[in-house]
Symmetry: C2
Subunit: 414 residues, 2 copies
């Protein structure tokens, strides 16, 4: 089965909003083995929509359209799809009741304009919408199918997953299953080189590297008749990759680096405190994304000024004078100091130049010293990051967490 995704809406056409729906649908359709042949964006205009439907059905059997199911006269998608198939709209009792009760619950009165959302072609499969007033629908004529879905992602996504996917699966005899490996500590290029023979030698599963904002991922995708068969195809390739990339792989699928580190801290009952200068609280804020962290996270200090480094962390004024605030020595005393003051087994610190100003030849923008103090031992490392102030602080934060992850592996897995 071949599909075209049609996104309806002037606000997408004019670039006011980013078309995330199309990406979501493309991925989900591919995952159930439906080939996405084309994606189109059209404005809320009957003539253009009719033309888009006509073009799409020249090569495809399925159109998935999002947007234009609202109550205003601008919202035309369902009406246009029905017109294209020459089907009449009649009231759908269940939807009428749903919309009525939706309004009652929120203490409002159903307006005449909302009634239009309860009209569908007689033979359409109506898709319930627990998250809004507009039901979706599957319209059919001969071998062609138009699925109309609401535009807001929080209404569209669950409707697609819960109702459209099960319906479409009858038309597909293969599925795609993916597993994502998440990697930190080596760049996309180096990684791709290390496993180029695996990437090039594979057709099922395929192996595709992606450079993301925060990390690098490898997606292993298998095509099979069912999930079990797909998993069997993925396993040996995954094993080979893991052998090659080792600890650079920090997790799978949707896990985050902070979640991995936080879980290691919690499961080993390792209390931690943070002392941040250039990262300004980002390490603490990132770790605290993980709900269970309160068991081990005792305290964070954002010590931006020299005064606060001395008073809060006990950094010596000699050290600051002799080596400067951005130095190996200061980083080390910061990590030791926070662990001591907070009474934790781990202390982690950053001090650096996030820019845009404040750099020099000796200490350029992007220079960051970090220290990890762990059960009495202090380690210090020097990093050089590139980019904007925000980028440097983000990279420093992620690198601090990754370094801590590697130290914890050394400590507990050897």
């Amino acid at each position: 089965m071949r599909a075209e995704i049609i996104s309806v809406g002037t606000e997408i056409l004019l670039g006011d909003i980013l078309n995330t729906n199309a990406q979501f649908l493309a991925k989900e359709l591919a995952a159930i083995g439906i080939d996405v042949y084309n994606q189109t964006v059209v404005g809320d205009n009957e003539e253009r929509m009719l033309k888009a439907f006509k073009n799409a059905f020249e090569k495809c059997d399925l159109i998935v359209a999002t947007g234009g199911l609202g109550p205003t006269p601008d919202d035309l998608t369902k009406e246009t799809a029905a017109k294209f198939f020459e089907q009449e709209l009649v009231v759908h009792e269940e939807s009428w009741k749903h919309i009525e009760s939706y309004f009652n619950k929120s203490g409002r009165i159903m307006e005449g304009s909302n009634a239009k959302q309860a009209y569908f072609p007689k033979d359409a499969v109506v898709l319930p919408n627990p998250n809004g007033t507009a039901p979706g629908a599957i319209l059919k004529k001969d071998e062609k199918m138009i699925v109309v879905l609401p535009g807001p992602p929080k209404e569209m996504k669950p409707m697609f997953i819960n109702h459209v996917v099960p319906y479409l699966q009858q038309y597909s005899d293969t599925i795609l299953v993916s597993k994502v490996l998440r990697i930190f500590g080596i760049g996309e290029g180096v990684m791709a080189e290390e496993i180029s023979d695996i990437i090039n030698g594979q057709s099922n599963p395929t192996v595709a590297p992606y450079a993301k904002e925060r990390d690098v991922t490898l997606r292993i995708t298998a095509k099979a008749r069912d999930e079990e068969e797909a998993r069997k195809l993925i396993k040996p390739v995954e094993d080979k990759i893991r052998e090659r990339l080792n600890d650079n792989i920090y997790g799978e699928d949707d896990v985050t680096l902070e979640e991995v580190v936080a879980k290691m801290l919690v499961s080993n009952k390792l209390t931690i405190a943070t002392a941040e200068s250039c990262t300004g609280g980002l390490i603490a804020a990132t770790l605290i994304n993980y709900p269970g962290i309160s068991e081990v996270f005792m305290e964070g200090a954002v010590t931006y000024s020299n005064d606060s480094k001395m008073q809060r962390l006990g950094v010596k004024s000699d050290t600051l004078e002799k080596y400067g605030a951005v130095s190996e020595e200061t980083a080390g005393e910061m990590a030791e100091g926070i662990a001591k003051k907070a009474g934790t087994r781990v202390g982690i610190s950053t001090t650096g130049i996030a820019g845009p100003g404040g750099g020099s030849t000796d200490k350029p923008v992007g220079l960051v010293y970090m220290a990890i103090h762990i059960d009495g031992t202090t380690l210090v490392r020097k990093f050089n990051f590139q980019g904007s102030r925000e980028r440097i602080r983000q990279r420093a934060t992620m690198n601090a967490l990754d370094w801590l992850r590697r130290e914890l592996i050394k400590k507990f897995n050897n």
Copy 2:
């Protein structure tokens, strides 16, 4: 002039990457008065691309295509555009030299496959690419035009702004100029109601509200022959809106809430320290986004445990016992405590239940107390936020900054 945006690439078609290029181009084309009629995504396939070009030119005079200018045989966009216009590709000396020197600089040797990036139709306008090897081009035949641009946003965007916009402006006699007002503290619905007469009464400029992740914006867009005329149309409408929404408007265009607050602190030489529990360092990290903040930001404390609230901030154990960590009283003592310990004029604190666990009937997930201590006076407020842990922490952070902004306005502008 009417345009269609065609994004070429299997990775967009399959949903592997989000199509941000189309949004960028849609906005930029609208800004120079070119009507975007349609957006399409096609795979790297000659036949499909030819069909997409044909469809587009039925209604449009201009195609802006991105992607498929790389060195591999998969990269077909330029070749297909030339084929569509029946134009032959010949070597373009300047591009050849550019690609050669690009490789030399990075210490690599130009490969045969890269040579193809230096071939263009004889009459094409070649667009230089300082950020990569693939030049873009403007191909023309009769009244039709195809602009081909590289896919990577960091190559495409500057090429479009620096070379395509000036070229296309000769075909347009109107421009669109927008001004964005940024709003915090009232929802999109309430705001739209407050100014519904202004929104509905306007056609040039138009006034459009948008709910964003962090705030709400109003975009005022005027169509005119030049920027000056457009600004004159915007001014009276902006004034009317400002009168109505007042301090809910915190800034214009791309400014952020933290930048506004940080600038107020710096210009009034108001030193500040933060004491965060549920926000876990996010207020500090957000304020420190602003580079000049080091002049006034003295110290931040992430006091997650009761112990750290007592030892670091001097919160009384009585207070914690009697009212709990999440209480008006604790929030107040936290803000006072951090201001005292850090020796600052302002102290700001948060304590709350970010979830997902830890809520009760009395103190549900989303309950957050905040305090602002400013020159000896302590104010406390109670908030209830909805959503995920991350969302609650984000909303709490933004609301803390907005509250501080309003207190600073009271203090310094009255």
